[in-house]
């Protein structure tokens, strides 16, 4: 893929159509070069903590923002979030929770675990882009400034 070390945005999403649409939306904001995508919770943790297939990755290069789908194979989003937020090295990485439904009871649980924001994947693509602007982009910019 691309350079895993210089990752700006990590997208954890198992639905390939959604991944494609997210990347397309990020491309339009000219952020696609810094985007990494993983498909399940285990892979996501391996990526972040440079383990398994990502053991060669430089752990010092942490994503500036993580888009975390709650419904994932293997480890689900809540479990991933719990691990990230309880680790000293990763707990400051902003996590934007992505859910298919506003009604999802896991959104509440995610906030309690320290999620920084959440976005509902609307059916309408335009609305999705708008939501990305309001959340992920904001965090990306905040982190860049803090750097």
């Amino acid at each position: 893929m691309h350079d895993c070390d210089a990752v700006e945005i990590l997208v954890i999403e198992d639905n390939p159509e959604d991944v494609e649409l997210i990347i397309r939306a990020l491309k339009k904001r000219h952020l696609a070069n810094e985007v990494s995508v993983v498909e399940d919770g285990v892979q996501a943790l391996d990526f972040i903590f440079c383990r398994g297939e990502y053991s060669g990755r430089n752990a010092a290069h942490r994503p500036k923002v993580i888009f975390l789908d709650l419904k994932l194979p293997k480890l689900n989003g809540i479990e991933v979030l719990k691990i990230l937020k309880s680790d000293e090295h990763t707990k400051r990485i902003p996590v934007v929770v992505v859910s298919s439904s506003r009604e999802d009871p896991d959104i509440k649980a995610a906030y309690e675990l320290g999620a920084n924001s959440y976005v509902v994947k609307p059916v309408d693509f335009e609305s999705f882009l708008e939501a990305m602007d309001h959340t992920g982009y904001f965090w990306l910019l905040v982190n860049q400034v803090a750097k």
Partner: protein, 865 residues
Amino acid sequence: MVNVLLIEDNPADARLFREHLRDAAAPGQFEIRVAPTLTEGLAQIKETNPKVVFLDLGLPDSQGLETYQVLRRAQPNVPVIIFSGTRDEELAVQAVQAGAQDYLFKGETTGTLIMRAARYAVERAKSERVVLESEAALRKAQAVAHVGSWVWRIRENRLEWSDEMFRIFGVDKAGFSGNLNDIVAGAIHPDDRAAVEASNLSVARDGEPVPLEYRVVWPDGTVRTVWAEAGELVRDSAGRPETLSGIVQDITERKRTADALMFSELRYRRLFESAKDGILILDAETGLIEDVNPYLTGLLGFSHGQITDKYVWELGFLRDIIANRENFLKLRREDYIRYDDLPLETADGRKIEVEFVSNVYTEDNHRVIQCNIRDITGRKRAEKEIGSLARFPAENPSPVLRIDRDGLLAYANPAAHRFIGGKMEIGKKAPELLGKIAAEALEDKREKRIETECGERIFLFIATPLGDAEYVNLYGLDITERKKAETALRALAVRFETLLAAVPEIVMEVDTRKVYTWANQAGLDFFGEDVVGREASFYFEGEQDTYAAVQALFDGARDDASLESIQRRRDGESRLLAWHCRALRDESGRTTGALSSARDITHEKQMQLEILKLNAELEQRVEERTAQLQAANRELEAFSYSVSHDLRAPLRAIDGFTGILLEDHENALDEEGKRVCGVIRDNACRMGHLIDDLLGFSRLGRTSLSKTRIDMKKTAAQAFEEAVPPEGRARIDFSIGDLPPARCDLQMIRQVWANLLSNAVKFTSRRPRAAIAVTGEASGNEAVYRVRDNGAGFDMEYVDKLFGVFQRLHGRKEFDGTGVGLAIVKRIVERHGGRVWAEAETDKGAVFSFSLPLETVHEGGTTDA
């Protein structure tokens, strides 16, 4: 007239005697009777009581001096003159010596002689009788005074005694020696002999008689006290004492009297000291107080010394009667004075009332006044009380009347006038009923009673005949309250009896031995007519601890007890009875038995068991159902989750990739292609909305309500603003009235307002000017809210479909929507216990209404129980 008896047997002599006397005496001067024999003469003396008797000594039944002696013995007091035919000087001397008054010789008598002899005889007899009588009196006097006289012939040492001396010394005259020594030795009390002998010696030697008191002892042992006093000592020519005379007086009685007097004085003194009357003794001449008794000093509070030796008018407390000497003289003059109530002042200034009586009497030639003073303060008070009691009938709050024998009213107190009313006048006919009972009381001479109503009060009149039953007193007692209480009590008793008979419960009374003493009808019906008198255990079926269960009642430890017991009905069937027993106690708290009620719960118990069984089954079923339901819910939640995630993902892809098609391949698509792409995206979006609404709707049924007090006006206004963007509001005339507050779930009720208002906006979108009005009011026990619009309205024919899910009354081209909004409204309102309804007409606008129950709104309270 001088009554004369001649005892003469010779009629010639008798005629001569008469003639002589007739010639000499004045006519009627003498009345002459003649007796021919001595016997007849004695009889005549007894009968005619002659003043003088002429006696012939030679009579047929007696001769000589013997005749006179017989007469003399028979009649010693009648003067007798001997009238003899014999001139015998010797006989005449003998006759006069024997007591005859005179001796007349028949041959020498003349009328004058006879007359004079008769007169002298009478006079002489009279004077002789006086002498005799005086001698007898002396003797009597000596006897009475117990004084005896004596003469002592000193030389012969012989005593001569008068008759009384023998009596005083208790000595028989016949055996009297006259020797002084014998007498001293025999009759003087041994203790006194020496004194008597000394006295005798003194007289004999010195001629100095000494008066002396000594005792004599009678032969029978009686002791008498005597007083001896000598008189004159006679001396002979040589000057030697010859005789001494004197008296001896028996003073035994006097001494005894003197002792008695002393005792009586003592007694008087004691009386004086202990009398419960005050006694004051004054000197009647001087007015000096001589004595005062302790009671009076105590009564007045003065000491004995403060009163005695003062003049009576100096005593302050007596100033009302003896203020000065004049008053005292009056007291003295009037032997007896009495004051019934005299005020006195005691030493400490207390006023008391006394009765004062004074008597003047002589005491040892000394006139004294005795004043008796009696404290009558208590009596006066009692009299006053009697006086007030006499007024009592007038003050008596109950009627008091008196009716006389004629049925006339003699007295009626104010209460009688007040209660009996009508016209009642003293002296007029008494009220009829009272008059009648009074008459009956008089008739039967005993008390009568009658009850009568006087206005609103009920009186019991008691008629009591009084005095000699000349009138009747009637006393009225107000028994209204008692009657009321009695009536109430009777009604209560009847009610209780009826109640006990009417209740289906068995009611039984037992004594402390657990023997039934009473049963109501239900009890008799159950146990049988012969239950009273039987012990409770007679009806027990099987082993029972019933007695143990009620023992606490009889011990006084508890007042009631409940138990169930299987008992035998009169038909022999065993029935389960539910008993409630209550202890009966008397006034002193002692348990006398128990009163118990029982219900036959045999059938009930069976039903209860049945119900318990059913309940257990039901619970089991409910548990099963609940588990099923919970499983279903879980499934539904999982399903909803899947739907929301998985159903939307393809839609997103359809929409997203159609968008890519339009963006990246615009040039490859003609206009129709682009339109079709638009249709695809519209439908994908629409499906997204449908899924969202459907999920929302299903969630409504599951989430719990969180009710708070909601300001409905504010909530509705906010919902309107959220539903309509600012630029859309210009064409809408929105009004909102005062809405009653409600208790409901804020999120949900917001949804209701949002749905109703966005509907209103939507359906008025074709009006040049939309009019939307929100109103509300409290009505009955619910609050009703309305949203009225002037929009498209709908056909009331389909109103039933209006609130169904996915039900739409307009085409999509006309008005967009999923058909879930009103279904959500309905579900929310109904979950709050309210109703929802709509009225409309096609093209004439619509009114959507919903109600919420008006729950009790606590002051400032916002939470539900």
